[in-house]
């Protein structure tokens, strides 16, 4: 299936055009996106700082990690509102370099989390009450903070690089999305 045509079809869908036509929809969706992403980042940071031994050090890690269920709720809101914004101008966002990097870094933080679960999560009982996590856990914590802060920066840059822009006519180079 033709990618450019698919993106155009998404843009002309009923829901996308009703968001575009409304004076209030996009600003309110974007605001909800900010609330969702700030809560996602803030609650993840609690955990990352605990891994690094910089906050909540007197509380067992597994207790601090209970916050993650709220992180997922906030992340869900962020993804839904993000998709709603994406469909209003799909081909422009898709061709935007900052957008692609942002998606890549979100995927990387997912992988980082998965690896952390595999390496450190398994023997959490051994370091649960230590003031900081073992080295691998600290690396995961630092990476997570760097990745999410970069995601926030890239997200803000999308807003500054897409307004009023037209999607390029050239077809998408699927072999290298970051060029």
């Amino acid at each position: 299936m033709d990618l450019a045509a698919t993106l155009k079809a998404i843009e002309s869908s009923g829901i996308a055009s009703s968001i575009r036509d409304s004076l209030y929809a996009f600003p309110l969706i974007e605001s909800s996106h900010v609330i969702g992403l700030t809560l996602t980042f803030g609650t993840i940071a609690i955990l990352d700082l605990r891994l690094l031994g910089l906050a909540s050090v007197h509380r067992p890690f597994t207790k601090v990690a209970e916050v993650l269920k709220w992180t997922w709720v906030a992340f869900g809101i962020t993804v839904i509102t993000g998709m709603l914004m994406f469909i209003t101008n799909a081909s422009v966002y898709f061709s935007n370099l900052q957008f692609r990097w942002k998606m890549a870094l979100i995927a990387l933080s997912g992988i980082n989390m998965f690896i952390f679960e595999r390496i450190c999560g398994r023997n959490v009982h051994r370091w649960d009450s230590d003031k900081s996590a073992p080295p691998a856990g600290k690396v995961a914590g630092i990476l997570s903070l760097i990745l999410w802060i970069s995601v926030i920066f890239l997200g803000r840059w999308i807003g500054f690089t897409t307004t009023g822009n037209q999607a390029p006519d050239a077809p998408v180079n699927l072999d290298n999305l970051f060029q």
């Binding site: 004076l23 209030y24 996009f26 600003p27 309110l28 974007e30 605001s31 909800s32 900010v34 609330i35 992403l37 700030t38 809560l39 996602t40 980042f41 803030g42 609650t43 940071a45 609690i46 906050a55 909540s56 509380r59 207790k63 209970e66 916050v67 709220w70 802060i149 926030i152 920066f153 803000r156 840059w157 807003g159 500054f160």
Partner: protein, 172 residues
């Protein structure tokens, strides 16, 4: 106010910010990171009041855990916010969203300060009794709503036209 905004836009600091195009997005991004810290801190204290998270710690302990982060992040928000006003005075000062936001920030800070003082004074009473009262829980929800509205209004500065005739934006 428009005159003041115009004057501010002509100052050398403002001009320096305006000519460096990377500056505003960078400051905005730092601003958002700090909003994350503030919102998550308020959220965690609220969750504790409702008993939905962190029940192994008391309310006093929870507030002591997040209070310093909240105030430090608010300090950075003040600085980055001021830089944005200096960099884009007309956009910020001539928008209804901005002034509504400032009013709510004042309310949010007053609530947070009073809450921390009250907790310091009558800690035990809060743990045993007040935390269960519906007034406390309503205040907790109200506080979260205040901070969420601050975020919404902050974003709406870019879309002041949503206020229609109430918008302060000068008609170009």
């Amino acid at each position: 106010m428009n005159d003041f905004a115009q004057w501010l836009a002509g100052t050398s600091l403002s001009l320096a910010i305006q000519t460096h195009l990377w500056f505003i997005p960078t400051v905005q991004s730092i601003h958002i990171v700090c909003i994350g810290i503030v919102l998550a801190s308020v959220f965690m204290i609220d969750l504790r009041i409702f008993g939905w998270a962190g029940r192994d710690q008391t309310l006093v302990q929870t507030t002591r855990r997040f209070g310093p982060w909240l105030w430090a992040a608010l300090g950075v928000l003040l600085v980055t916010g001021a830089l944005m006003v200096i960099g884009e005075p007309v956009r910020e000062l001539m928008s209804l969203s901005f002034w509504l936001k400032m009013t709510l920030i004042l309310a949010g800070i007053v609530i947070a300060t009073l809450f921390q003082f009250a907790l310091r004074k009558n800690g035990r009473q809060w743990e045993e009794d007040r935390i269960n009262r519906w007034t406390t829980k309503s205040l907790a929800i109200l506080t979260l709503l205040v901070w969420c509205s601050i975020v919404v209004l902050g974003r709406l500065i870019a879309y002041d036209h949503v206020w229609g005739a109430w918008s302060l934006r000068p008609i170009a």
